[in-house]
Subunit: 198 residues, 2 copies
DNA sequence: CTCACAATCTTTTCGCTGTCAAGATGGGCT
DNA sequence: AGCCCATCTTGACAGCGAAAAGATTGTGAG
């Protein structure tokens, strides 16, 4: 905060937040270490006291955004009153998070961290990973139906792919859709499960 | 071909193909005009005789890959003998195209060209655009079911999002899945329609 | 045939970038 | 009080996209 002192005092956090701000406004292509440093009122090499290199800063930024994302998902899970439609609301929150910040999508999912793990021996402690959140919620929602574990696993992957695909498409550069399209998300998300019921 | 002559003779096409080769091997982050030029045995400014700037070359590369992609999809449509499962096979081809070349996915769908157009007044001449190919195939496949136009439209968007989401997930950096996971794609793709039937 | 033109390619230069090395600063512990 | 060392600055270097200016050569008009 004290812009005059030689030592910034909170540079590491400031760099992360400023970097995310730039990403959200201009996208990853326009992110440079020197620009972030300058925006923090600091010389171009100052970041190297806190991060090994540019990729190291980007990883920290990604963790920060991923945590915000998981918070948005968890909030829906914890406050949803109609548990029978929780997968629809969770999916809608998933899509809307990225519609609000389109640049976050490619930023989050094109980096080194494992955001999705479909392998049989996936780490169950990946609690903050989007697919793991969706998967555990879906298991709770689908278990009462008595579907076999194998089939439930496939269904969850399919529903997650549908949600993730909608997020990918709606955040694509120059993808066009009507204004009321956002209202359609819920309808589209329910198609899978309603189709399975009827 | 003649590496000694002052004039390359086929530089424009060579730059496009070499650029795509670099993308497929190293991803877009490692693509530079100078590297492409050097790989073509030409000075670093030579590309400017054929392309306005780097983005112009990238657009040409994207068109080239998009055409290859549409060819792969059209080939499935034209050679599919079991028309009742054409949407499954089309979706599988969609996913496998990008599994074979993971770097193509973000490259194709993060650029300026409109690859997906969900608006009501979408240009119907976008025949080579992936969503338009999928949509027209789906209309032919679903029309006999007698579903309303409105609902069919939503269903097609949902199925396309599922397919596109699978492609996005399977090509994500560091996404892990078992070897036999590729065999599961077909199963997962059929879940939507089989759920709707049963 | 020749010769000038225009397309193509090279060289040079510029500002920006990531990264590293060396030095300056000053908060906090002994 | 004085030293240490994390933090920050300055300066340098190679690689990048881009533009300007000059070199080369295929080609078509005469």
């Amino acid at each position: 905060m004290d812009t005059k002192s030689y030592h910034h005092g909170n540079l590491r956090e400031s760099l992360i937040e400023m970097g995310i701000k730039i990403i959200s406004l201009e996208g990853d292509a326009n992110l440079s270490l020197r620009k972030v440093a300058s925006a923090c009122g600091v010389s171009h090499a100052a970041p190297y006291a806190h991060f090994k290199n540019k990729d190291d800063l980007i990883n920290a930024m990604q963790e920060h955004v991923a945590f915000e994302f998981s918070k948005a998902l968890m909030h829906v899970i914890e406050t949803c009153s109609r548990k029978e439609e929780i997968l629809t609301y969770l999916g809608k929150a998933y899509v809307i998070f990225f519609m609000d910040n389109p640049h976050y999508f490619s930023f989050l999912f094109s980096r080194t961290e494992i955001m999705v793990d479909f392998s049989y021996n996936a780490d169950p402690t990946n609690n903050y990973k989007p697919y793991e959140i969706y998967r555990q919620t879906a298991i709770q929602a689908l278990t009462p139906t008595g579907i076999s574990y194998e089939k439930m696993n496939d269904i969850i992957i399919a529903m997650f792919a549908l949600v993730h695909g909608l997020a990918s498409i709606t955040t694509m550069k120059n993808t066009t859709y009507d204004e009321k399209w956002e209202d359609k998300i819920e309808t589209i998300l329910t198609l899978f499960s309603s189709g399975r019921k009827g």
